[in-house]
């Protein structure tokens, strides 16, 4: 497959690993402690595990899996709202497959479906709109979920609904934005990060400029990265080169997809339909100012939060759950007290154990190897 296979080439990966090792040798910090690089995006977390990249990287690099999985950071109260919506008579609740198993305080969407709620998985918000067209007697609610990558598609779908005069369609908006969250993490006192892999697909929408503050104000290198193994490895090498050179800039590894200026059509639609919320609740991270969006007043009739009455409760995360610390990179998944015991992919306590981009699930599924086999003696508990 074009633009896929070329970027999985093992030979080129070896060159990059060589380069990474060479850079490490030139970085003084590495003699004292591992460098902490945060991949903001869950897509990178997924790629790291899928291709076994962590098992290839030198010990001196520690990857911190950031908050960039919209499923993992979904607060329990919002899942409850989804269930409440889905269980209303006459509603067809449409969602991407990802959040189906995220636990709410009473049940997940998968459980609600098993108990009779009409919940349908869709591939695109346009599929949800199509259902609304096909079932004019029903209320079709689309579970809007995702960062800036996904928001424009929801926006265009709302605009399309308006154009067609479809009135039985609405969005339960849980869209969030990544920049305020990165800022919150950088402001967190218990945080020591040396650099960032920037989210490639968010960036194709927002462009590279919004990351400027990371370099300028916090003096951390940022490299916008693609999702194939060579992309990730090259981005790591680029971050290291900045560190080695004492630079802190925003660089773009993913030029084939990410234009510096982002996607103007998408951003226009986004800001036409959505406006920033004063704050939004994140699982594990608490409330973050300006980190969510909602539909503008003009599109109120497409807003499920205005159209239906929702429980809208703030549900505290389970006491034992340490997702927040893991999300901020303070704890590694395996250091969470309930990892692998009370919290497993079958009975997840926290959202990080649910999504295939969730760090805990990824560690549990792909990562247990190093704990059990002596094949890689250099792997320590805290780095796999």
């Amino acid at each position: 497959m074009k633009y896929v296979d070329e970027f999985r080439d093992p030979a080129k990966a070896r060159y990059l690993l060589g380069e990474i090792n060479r850079q490490i040798e030139q970085i003084a910090t590495c003699q004292v402690r591992p460098l902490q690089l945060m991949e903001v995006c869950g897509g990178h977390t997924h790629a790291l595990f899928k291709y076994g990249i962590e098992t290839l990287l030198p010990e001196a690099i520690e990857l911190v899996h950031g908050p960039g999985c919209p499923v993992c950071v979904l607060p329990m109260g919002r899942v409850d709202d989804c269930v409440a919506l889905a269980e209303q008579g006459g509603v067809i609740f449409t969602t991407f497959g990802d959040p189906m198993r995220v636990p709410g305080s009473r049940k997940s969407l998968a459980q609600a479906k098993a108990e009779g709620a009409d919940i349908r998985m869709v591939y695109s918000p346009l599929d949800a709109l199509k259902l609304a067209r096909q079932h004019p007697e029903r209320e079709v609610v689309f579970f809007g979920l995702g960062f800036e990558t996904t928001i424009p598609s929801t926006a265009f779908t709302v605009l399309q609904a308006e154009r067609e005069g479809i009135n039985n369609f609405s969005v339960f908006c849980n869209h969030i934005t990544i920049i305020p969250t990165i800022k919150a993490i950088l402001d967190s006192p218990d945080m020591q990060l040396d650099g960032f892999l920037g989210p490639g697909h968010v960036s194709m929408v927002i462009g590279t400029r919004p990351y400027g503050f990371i370099a300028e104000r916090y003096h951390k290198p940022v490299v916008i990265a693609g999702f194939e193994p060579l992309d990730v490895l090259q981005a790591v090498a680029m971050v290291l080169r900045q560190i080695a050179g004492g630079r802190a800039e925003v660089e773009n590894q993913y030029g084939r997809v990410v234009p510096q200026e982002g996607n103007r059509a998408a951003l226009t639609a986004l800001s036409q339909v959505f406006e920033v919320r004063e704050y939004f609740e994140w699982r594990g991270l608490g409330s973050i100012d300006y980190s969510g969006v909602r539909l503008r007043e003009r599109y109120a009739r497409y807003d499920a939060e205005r159209r239906f009455s929702l429980p809208n409760l703030k549900i505290a995360d389970p006491k034992a759950c340490q997702c927040g610390e893991v999300l901020k990179g303070i704890l590694k998944p395996r250091e969470c007290k309930v990892f692998g015991t009370a919290c497993t992919p079958e009975t997840p306590l926290g959202a990080l154990m649910v999504s295939s981009e969730g760090a805990c699930a990824a560690y549990y599924r792909f990562g247990r190897l190093q704990q059990q086999t002596p094949a890689h003696p250099q792997d320590m508990m805290d780095r796999t």
Binding site: M1, V4, R8, P10, A13, R14, G42, G43, F49, K50, Y51, G52, I53, E54, T55, L56, C69, P70, V71, F96, G97, D98, M100, R101, A110, R120, M121, V122, Y123, D127, G146, T150, P229, P345, E346, S355, S356, E357, Y364, R365, F366, G367, R368, L369, Q372, T373, P374, A375
Partner: protein
Amino acid sequence: MNSHQGSRHITLAHGGGGKAMRDLIETLFVRHFHNPWLTPLEDQARIGLGELSPGGNRLAFTTDSFVVDPLFFPGGDIGTLAVNGTVNDLAMSGAQPLYLSCGMILEEGLSITLLEEVVESMGRAADAAGVSIVTGDIKVVPRGAVDKLFINTTGLGVIPEGVHIASHRAQPGDAILVNGFMGDHGAAIVDARGDLALDNPVESDCQPLHGLVAAMLAACPDIHCLRDATRGGVATVLNEFVQAAQVGMRLEEASLPVRETVRGVCEILGLDPLYLANEGKLVAIVPAEAAEAVLAAMRSHPAGREGAIIGEVTAVPEGRVVLATALGGERIVDMLVGEQLPRIC
């Protein structure tokens, strides 16, 4: 089918045990399944033990229900699936599949034309696999109590003496083989209902495997493990093996046979071909020294043309399947938790 004049649909009467059912059995099932065991229409088929013993010293006995939706899909239908699925479960013990039962549950209102297509397709699949459908049952349930049509087939076969295939027999050093492209069936039906609006050229790999198994046994009578990689795919079978045998496994990503189009489906929907269902693929664990001979036997059989050695059994990590990625990294291939859901993130 004189008695269904004016009614091209199944009614509750067809399951009532009376005349309508009798007619349906005689005009449809006996016609397409015709064989000397079925025709007396007793409550049970009778099979001389003498007919069985020349083939081996043990019976293999297996059951599966088939609930695929849609009933017809690229590369097959519920009828071919129902025959081949059970034939394959028999074959995985090394048995020669011989006799099948057929239990059908029909929805009131089902088109009789459609039913006949399925029955005909079962008859053809049984002929092709050399098995006889010797006993059956029909139930009709009220509209809404079943989605169109479910089939159970239960199979009997005879296992040749000296063949001892069992999941606990995997031993460190053994080679792991598959007989061709993974995930065709799963990719073919993932959107056969059209909800995801894919235009998908993949066809199901539905086929009987006992001929292939016989060829493999001829090359190596001491095959350690065999299992058809249906629901849950190759990953699930391998996990069952490592747990039963208390061994580990190491797969080579680069050697996994996956069709380009199946990769396409997986990329679009965020799925992993290792977990996709197959209906004509088996996983075999064979002693290392026999691996090449078995592979050659596989590849010279029509059902194994794209066969491959995909990895080896290891001592550690016990109970774990490890994938060596093309890149040189490693990851665990775990049991599937929950269903595989289409992903967007």
